[in-house]
């Protein structure tokens, strides 16, 4: 077993989890990740996608080669390799995305799709659909001195007085062209089965939980000028619902009401902005500048 720390959780794992930092062995484990046999989904489980089944007893993910991942109780992830016994090439990607996304839902977090950095006055989340430029923008902010909080999944805890989040993934997944803009001689490890994505470790990693200062939702629009505008709470609710990580799995596990409570709390108490950028051409420099101006 190895000990890792992410999302404010102490994680014991039989597998290497290079995206997390090391944990504290003097503390009890909150989550255990192990290899072993898995009971198949029960009859009441809903087929949520081609590869995911869910019920109140957890979520089962089926990988391409037959490997199974079962996430349950918010504290247990079990991986059953295929009958061939070899490790699935999709394992890390599924584990770190849908696997942890589901586990966080089971623990009552609201996982949002995006990255985040830390600022002296709280964490700043960068959200948006795939291809919006979340990781590239997050990476740009890290280069300007804001410690990285997470990439891909921002797990919001909306149960306290103010919504807050914990540092999670200590590495960014960047597109090849995004890396070359910053570091043409890179030698980063490719993320398995993610097209042209590389894992970029960062030394600038945030420590400790913090309240959310603001959330930015990046949207690409035809011929849009790069601009940032505030969104009123009801609009923020709709936007954040769309940016909720694997929201179809939330519903199938019976967490819709809990997610609704978290969404309304975040929409009410955290400033939400839309960052518009054009679909066409290269606008990353303007986006970076707009974000820095807005944060300073």
């Amino acid at each position: 077993m190895k000990r890792y720390r992410g999302f404010g959780l102490e994680i014991d794992s039989e597998l290497d989890l290079p995206a997390f930092v090391g944990g504290d062995l003097t503390k009890p484990a909150d989550v255990v990740i192990s290899l072993g046999p898995i009971a198949p989904p029960n009859r009441s489980a809903t087929a949520v996608t081609r590869w995911a089944r869910a019920s109140a007893s957890g979520v089962w993910l089926t990988l391409d080669d037959g490997e199974l991942i079962h996430i349950r109780n918010g504290n247990e992830i079990t991986i059953q390799p295929s009958s061939r016994g070899s490790e699935s090439t999709q394992r890390q990607v599924f584990l770190m995305a849908s696997g942890f996304g589901t586990l966080l839902q089971q623990r009552g977090f609201l996982p949002l799709h995006g990255g985040a950095v830390a600022t002296p006055s709280g964490m700043v989340g960068i959200l948006g659909v795939s291809g919006a430029g979340k990781s590239t923008t997050t990476h740009a902010l890290v280069r300007h001195g804001f410690p990285l909080v997470t990439d891909d999944i921002l797990a919001v805890d909306a149960s306290g007085a103010r919504p807050c989040a914990h540092p999670a993934y200590a590495a960014l997944k960047l597109c090849g062209d995004a890396i070359e803009r910053f570091d043409p001689d890179h030698d980063f490890e490719p993320v398995r089965s993610a097209n042209d994505k590389y894992r970029v470790p960062t030394e600038m990693f945030a420590t400790g939980e913090s309240t959310l200062r603001a959330l930015y939702v990046i949207r690409r629009r035809p011929n849009a000028e790069v601009s940032i505008r505030p969104v009123k709470p009801s609009g923020a609710f709709r936007l954040l619902d769309r940016e909720t990580f694997r929201r179809e799995l939330l519903a199938a596990q019976g967490f819709r009401a809990a997610a609704f409570a978290s969404l309304t709390e975040v929409a009410r108490s955290v400033p939400v902005y839309v960052l518009n950028r054009p679909i066409e051409g290269s606008s990353h420099v303007a986006v970076e500048q707009a974000m820095l101006d807005h944060l300073n």
Partner: protein, 99 residues
């Protein structure tokens, strides 16, 4: 499943918020969860004001009086029709019950 015809509300019927919903006011606009289907709905400020009047069970006629008092509309006749259409829609969605 009741048909649209059966659901059309009359002017004196008693209505109340359904037990199958949770609503939250966000700066004067209501967001709603229909717990049975898991669907979300958002209401604009006018619809939210009507929803806020529905804290207790009341007749559609009393609700109309309340809405008139709140908005002071120039043509109350049109308002009544719009209001009944809106309430019928809420019943269809499942967030409003006829009691």
């Amino acid at each position: 499943m009741a048909t649209e015809q059966q659901l059309t509300l009359s002017n004196s019927e008693m209505i109340c918020r359904s037990d199958d919903q949770v609503s939250v006011d966000l700066d004067g606009e209501t967001v709603l969860l229909h717990t049975e289907t898991g669907r979300y709905f958002t209401m604009n400020e006018v619809a939210s004001a009507v929803w806020n009047l529905l804290v207790h069970p009341m007749s559609t006629a009393d609700l109309l009086d309340g809405v008139k008092a709140e908005f002071d509309p120039p043509e109350a006749g049109d308002m009544s029709e719009d209001l009944l259409r809106f309430l019928t829609r809420l019943v269809t969605i499942g967030v409003l019950s006829r009691s």
